[in-house]
């Protein structure tokens, strides 16, 4: 390893000046409470930012910023670092003027079209639940080969929050939906793109789909749809319609732009899979990960995230030899359905090259595939739903590289 070691060697007769010379903060008076009525991270954390991937998009309003997974802990994504995906820019909407409409594609499907204010929605029974949200295009740049250096860019269209809102089922009950006939649901945003996506009524009936206003204890952030968004656990982010203004029930899918021109997966036979929505079981080691440098040999905690759009994570295995041998990692509790699960595993690095991988399994028994297994079925041009096992190469220098393995 390079001589960056921080093991902080000191003269046994002397000591570390950071200890022997008391720092200023041990000898003075600090800042008052409520210096910031709404606080912010330390100035020493300035490197921890969401970022665009250079060259990925030609505009900044129809674009993506990636969450810095390599610097995050646990499962909650700080709302300030939540990944962004906008199609026509983000807005800070006055919530007192925002309205939600519930209607039917025709009168047979819904008895009473309704309008709600925020004041009213917030009077209704609410639930609070932890869920991940992942863009269907996450890791999309890597279908064919390695394209980006760090897990921020390879996996950073992923975040996890505690969402609070009203189960959509409850609003549908109020409006008198005919669940026999109305098997499809359209969500529509209030922004310029007025994003629309179709959901199956089954998901709404499960009680999992929320009309959410809360995220991590406070209101949704403007970048994430303030003041209202759909929460559709297990389903790709594009369906979690932001700036939600309208929900319609219908008797067939809606063929929205993002169901016909995007978020369709090109198969080797030249046809596209349409209405692909579930985010299948996936995981990634976040440290050590691409673009990082191990400072020394010795002990390391390998840590990462696992998730599944089909339920709970059951097991995560980690390999340090490129997939030849695996050990099961410790899963942090609580392990929640359609939520990130943090895993940790002890590792002593001997200074030799190592190929680090993680492989998640969910409660349905589905096992995260290798690139070989995934490509054998789907080829390399899908763009969406790449849930292959990620490989990081720890080089002798300590520097970690994003790599893909043959065959």
């Amino acid at each position: 390893p390079r001589a960056l070691a921080t093991a902080n060697p000191v003269d046994p007769q002397g000591g570390d000046p950071n200890i022997l010379e008391l720092p200023e903060h041990s000898r003075g008076l600090g800042q008052p409470v409520a210096t910031d009525g709404y606080g912010k991270p330390s100035k020493y954390e300035a490197n921890v930012q969401r970022r665009q991937s250079p060259g990925l998009t030609q505009t900044t309003q129809a674009s993506v910023s990636f969450a810095p997974l390599q610097s995050l802990f646990g499962i909650v994504t700080p709302s300030g670092l939540h990944f962004e995906r906008h199609h026509q820019g983000w807005w800070d909407i006055d919530p007192s003027k925002h309205r939600l409409m519930i209607n039917g594609s025709d009168e047979r499907l819904l008895k009473k079209p309704m309008v709600f204010t925020l004041d009213e929605l917030m009077r209704l029974p609410s639930v609070s639940r932890f869920h991940f949200i992942e863009c269907g295009a996450n890791t999309g740049m890597e279908w064919g080969n390695v394209a980006v250096p760090t897990c921020q860019y390879s996996h950073g269209m992923l975040s996890c929050s505690e969402f609070t809102g009203v189960p959509l089922k409850l609003l549908f009950d109020m409006a008198g939906v005919d669940y026999k006939k109305a098997r499809y649901v359209l969500g529509e945003g209030a922004d310029g793109s007025s994003m629309t996506r179709t959901l199956p009524m089954e998901l709404v009936e499960s009680g999992e789909v929320l009309v959410a206003y809360g995220q991590n204890g406070e209101m949704l952030r403007p970048e994430n749809g303030y003041p209202l968004r759909l929460v559709v656990p297990g389903v790709q982010g594009v369906s979690w319609v932001k700036y939600l203004r309208r929900i319609e029930v219908g008797d067939q899918p809606y063929g929205a732009k993002d169901e016909v021109l995007h978020y369709i997966d090109l198969m080797p036979d030249g046809r596209h899979r349409q209405y692909t929505s579930i985010q299948e079981c996936k995981s990634v080691v976040t440290t050590p990960s691409g673009g990082q440098v191990l400072l020394d040999k010795g002990f390391y905690n390998i840590t990462g995230l696992a998730w599944s759009g089909r339920g709970k994570i059951k097991r995560v295995d980690v390999s340090v030899d490129g997939g030849r041998n695996w050990r099961s990692a410790r899963l942090e509790t609580p392990v929640l359905s359609k939520c990130l699960t943090r895993f940790n595993l002890d590792w002593v690095w001997d200074g030799k090259p190592a190929l680090i991988q993680s492989r998640a399994m969910d409660e349905t028994g589905y096992v995260q595939p290798s690139y070989r297994q995934l490509r054998a079925v789907r080829g390399t041009r899908s763009i969406y739903h790449n849930n292959a096992i990620q490989t990081w190469l720890v080089q002798e220098s300590g520097e970690v590289k994003n790599v893909q393995l043959a065959g």
């Binding site: 960056l4 490197n47 991937s53 250079p54 030609q58 199609h87 519930i102 209607n103 594609s105 025709d106 079209p113 309008v115 009077r123 209704l124 080969n145 250096p149 760090t150 860019y153 359209l186 529509e188 793109s193 629309t196 199956p200 009524m201 998901l203 389903v235 067939q252 929205a256 016909v260 021109l261 369709i264 090109l266 198969m267 046809r271 596209h272 349409q274 209405y275 692909t276 579930i278 673009g291 990082q292 440098v293 191990l294 400072l295 089909r310 030849r324 041998n325 695996w326 096992v367 595939p369 041009r381 490989t391 520097e399 970690v400 590289k401 790599v403 893909q404 393995l405 043959a406 065959g407």
Partner: protein
Amino acid sequence: QPYPNVGRPATAKEIKAWDIDVRPDFKGLPPGSGSVAKGTEVWEAKCASCHGVFGESNEVFAPLVGGTTKEDIASGRVARLTDPSFPGRTTLMKLSTLSTLWDYIHRAMPWTQPKSLTPDEVYSVTAYLLNLGGVVPDDFVLSQQNMAEVQKRLPNRNGMRTDHGLWPGKSPGNGGKPDVQATACMKDCGPEPQLASFLPEHARNAHGNLAEQNRAVGAQHGADTTRPAGA
């Protein structure tokens, strides 16, 4: 009424103002029409600056037209989508339902002034784009009445599959059965690993200095990519 005094009925005018979606069966499509000629005008005034005069620009987005053939119109399958070496995919190469194009232009374009077009303008630019793709002739007038006919000529109208397990409902799709099966082998698995792909050295700093994209403390720091690897 289990939730008294919460919410109220939507009025007809309100629903009209917001219920703008147009479905594949053209439910929701407002009356109106527009010619290719009128579409050319609208296009040049309101669209060409971003998408190029012939919808060919990829300056702000992938090209809208190109890549489709007469044969595709006949088969309803865009042949070039089977060619892995064909570079990009245009909108027309993917479009399987005409409603989608109409609905999207109507709700979202022009990008900086969404919802500013009249239905007739939307019909006309849609006609213009279809004409560029050879789907309709130069003198065509697209209207609420003939959308369903034009649908039958879309080059990729038969290009979609729903026989997969990634739809979270009963239909369309196979009800959720995964297509890829892996196993959780634990010992002496697979072949000896061999590197197949990694970033070339010249791309080392293409995403900026990674030292500045990692926390200043931690088990690992960020690599200084302004300097060559190993330096």
